[in-house]
Amino acid sequence: MRISEFRHAFVTGGASGFGLAIANAMAGHGVRVTLADVDEEALAAVQAERGELFRTSVLDVRDREGWREARARAEVDFGPVDLLFNNAGIGPDGSELADMSPESFDRMIAINLTGVLNGVSTFAASLRDAGRGHIASTSSMSGMAADNAGLGSYGPAKFGVVAMMEVLRREMEPFGVGVSVFCPGTTATNLIASTRRFGSDRFPEEASLLDLPVKPEQLAPAILRGIEENRLYIFTHTERRAAVEERFAGIMAGFDAA
């Protein structure tokens, strides 16, 4: 589906980072966008600046009732959603599994994994009935390789998102609905602030990824092209390929021993 053929995109984590970059790029093609975010202030700032293109909706992706309400409000304004981008997420808390608070693990799964399922539950049946549309979700290169310490909850959530999109793609394919999973590497986003907001004390207040050289705006065209071409995997950071290959080699060795 060409980007300009989409009518209404619903983007979570839409008030900053990848979400906002994707929304801006979509709007550039004339797509109406609902930005959903848990950060009310950031939403208000975007709304004040670019209110004519966007609608905003305060949403905690863990809240299933909140999803239903956000959808209803969004569709009153802009009509049926035909592109869902599940992008909201938090970063790892940095602790190893043996030291991790169970509540921190639960929070990660609730936001980064079940939060995506909640979006799928809210929109997938309607897209299927409409026989057109697209669902994309932000995973990570940490959804492809788990070779670092301290990612013990982030990795399972992001691997889970990849698996969800792989199966969803098969389920939606016969009905003309596309599915993609976006797996970025480290990018200049608000991830650290978002992680702090949800109670992780790993990072000092001044910590930020925003000075990193790779900006979300630079990656938005590749993301949009991935949607347009209905690619299952959208990769933007090639430096993690070696880790992915190494993982595959390890699995292959396991099959040799089987």
Binding site: E96, L97, A98, D99, M100, P102, F105, D106, I109, L113, T114, L117, N118, V120, S121, A124, A125, L127, A145, A146, D147, N148, A149, G150, L151, G152, S153, G155, P156, A157, F159, G160, V161, V162, A163, M164, E166, V167, L168, R169, R170, M172, A222, R231, Y233, F235, T238, R241, V244, E245, R247, F248, G250, I251, M252, A253, G254, F255, A257, A258
Partner: protein, 261 residues
């Protein structure tokens, strides 16, 4: 890990299927076994036919306090646990995502993913401090490849278990604790019946499962060997490989697509 030095294995979902196969294989090597299971009838049945090298404890792996109690009880009898096998799990729900009750997704995640990390929370720090031990997590072929409609929630949880195990292995390696992830193909077990028993929903997906001549006893032997060798992946069915290879090639092609863009 040298199994002749191992003393006490704690195995969830140990009263039937793969868990029992693993329990028997470790017991044959002289390890005392605590089988933890949610199903008390099955526990009684198994214990009636096995010697005093076995003990049973009731455990719902979702319940973190229950884990602490089960651990205390098990270690009072057989000493510190040096092998943890996180094996308990339920089957796919047979629902496509668009039609899935979110609570069914939650249940599969709570048992098949969080239930496993709960075991790590209960035992991981002790093993690390002792500088000795091994953890096996049961994932699935569905933790390596995904794409079967109706197996989505299950695949999500099992991909999570695979990732959890890979990450844990990196974290535990400097401390002398081994970690393996078991990714079996289809084995004849009572997974479906057990799933229904604890209130899970399940549709006729099992009808599509291939015949398999790999038994739980075979898997038990493979797991014992995998622990001995500290294998990262314990894989039981070579016929799973073509699907895994296909997925790997698709991912590599997608990486190349970006590089050439």
């Amino acid at each position: 890990m040298d199994l002749s030095q191992a003393k006490h294995a704690f195995i969830t979902g140990g009263a039937s299927g793969l868990g029992l196969g693993i329990a028997d294989a470790l017991a044959r090597r002289g390890v005392a076994v605590t089988i933890a299971d949610i199903n008390e009838d099955s526990l009684k049945e198994v214990l009636a036919t096995r010697g005093n090298q076995f003990r049973g404890v009731r455990l719902d792996t979702r319940d973190r306090e229950n884990w602490q109690k089960a651990k205390a009880e098990a270690e009072a009898a057989f000493g510190p646990v040096d092998i943890l096998v996180n094996n308990a799990g339920i089957s796919p729900n047979g629902r496509e995502f668009a039609d899935m009750d979110p609570e069914s997704f939650d249940r599969i995640l709570a048992i098949n993913l969080v239930g496993i990390v709960n075991g790590i929370f209960a035992f991981g720090a002790d093993m690390r401090e002792r500088g000795n031990g091994h953890i096996v997590n049961t994932s699935s072929q569905a933790g390596l490849t995904a794409g079967i409609p109706g197996v989505g929630a299950y695949s999500v949880a099992k991909f999570g278990v695979t990732s959890l195990s890979e990450g844990l292995r990196v974290e535990m390696e400097p401390h002398g604790v081994g970690v393996s992830v078991l990714c079996p193909g289809y084995v004849q077990t009572n997974l479906g019946a057990n799933t229904v028993k604890i209130g899970g929903d399940i549709r006729q997906y099992t009808a599509a499962m291939p015949e398999s001549d790999v038994t739980p006893a075979d898997v038990g032997e493979m797991v014992a060997e995998g622990i001995e060798q500290n294998a990262a992946y314990i894989l039981t069915h070579k016929d799973v490989w073509p699907g895994v290879e296909k997925r790997m090639n698709a991912i590599k092609a997608a990486c190349d697509y970006r590089r050439n863009a």
